[in-house]
């Protein structure tokens, strides 16, 4: 029921549903709770509904933070 990993939107239909791809497996999701979703977006789906779209800039920021930690640790 709770897929903690994100999936990628691969198609959208007029009725507010669409397909989300999880490394090759696609599931049908309802996008009514996520207005403005586009094909190519990464989303979190829960109980058949997409509830969040991943923000790439924020993801990149966190990954940069990991790199900074690396520098900090190698400085020890």
């Amino acid at each position: 029921m709770c897929l903690a990993v994100p999936g990628k939107v691969v198609s959208l239909q007029d009725d507010g549903t669409g397909q989300v791809d999880y490394m090759g497996t696609t599931v049908l999701a309802n996008f009514s709770l996520l207005p403005g979703v586009k094909v190519g977006d990464w989303v979190i789906v829960h109980a058949g509904f997409a509830i969040s779209r991943l923000d790439r800039a924020e993801a990149r920021r966190t990954l940069r933070l990991f790199q900074e930690l690396e520098k900090l640790n190698s400085a020890d």
């Binding site: 029921m1 309802n30 509830i51 923000d55 990991f66």
Partner: protein, 379 residues
Amino acid sequence: MPPRKSSLETLSDWRSGPTIRNLLRAISRETEAINRPLRIMEVCGTHTMTLHRSGLKPLLKEAGVVMVSGPGCPVCITPDYYHEAVIDLVTSQKNIIATTFGDMTRVPTGRGSLQTTVPSPGSEIKIVYSPDEALELAGQHPEKEVMFFGAGFETTIPAIAFTAKKAAATGLKNFTLLAALWLIPPALEAILRSGEVDIDGFIYPGHVSVIIGQQAYSFVAEKYRLPGAIAGFEPADVLLGILSVVRQVRAGRPEVANEYRRAVRAEGNPGALALMAEMLEPYEAEWRGLGRIKNSGLRLKSEWQKLEAARRFNLRLQPGKSLKSGCRCGEVLKGLLEPVDCPLFARHCNPDHPQGPCMVSYEGACLIEYKYSSGEKKK
């Protein structure tokens, strides 16, 4: 085959060994400065899963952080009498299709489980993956009563509210909901107010927070002066949340940090919140282990009572004879007992013969402990 994705979207960065080691070292540095071990509650069962599956629990202990499981398992905190009411209904009445999520069917109660129940002729218990699927069944079976029995936190509630709204709009007369809907912030407040469990901070559930946002927890920092961080579900996400809590402890500055910013916005999901407010209202709900908590549950508003299964079928949602199994799930859910310290753990209670819901749900601390620690007994 070309690589599926750039590193941004693959999960490997959030699972990489060096990143995990660096985060653990950063955490140790803080706990060394604080000079005492910290106890942090991971509220959500899916975080419990990440901690066990990736073997982080013992590593964190070495880094000076003991993780304590919390109430974040909807199947676990739903009292037995919900299941018993559904069992009574399908065994006493014909032509009822009771639909529910898979793990709900295995919860043992004084009247058996939904899985072992033999329904009346024409009645059945069916597993669905979403409440929407239950509504479709109602459309396909106008001659039957279709009931959706679901338990969930804020993550699942919008889906159920959406389905309720759609059911009301389609005017189907044979669809009802028995929804055990629970809210995380009031439960945290009840845990803090009781003062029973000694913790230094919270890791807040990532996907509940996707819906409710950051503000919902501000009382924890302001009123109870306790640190906390919203975290995602990859190993590095959880460690990042823990690092934030540990830093807040060291600085003596509790706040609600958001360490899952790629998915959680400060304001949550406004559309989902509006839908919840349109269809549902808060009430004093009863939680397994935690008891009655003010405004901790949601139920259909009075204008949608036609969809309320408890009303349609006159269900008795009250504690009956309790199952005398010795299950201590209630204490596990409050962080007072570790699964391995339950005398039944791995002896009389295992995934094939669960004695309580914490050994049934994939978010249940007992099942997770059993699966990933191979039933090892703690000294």
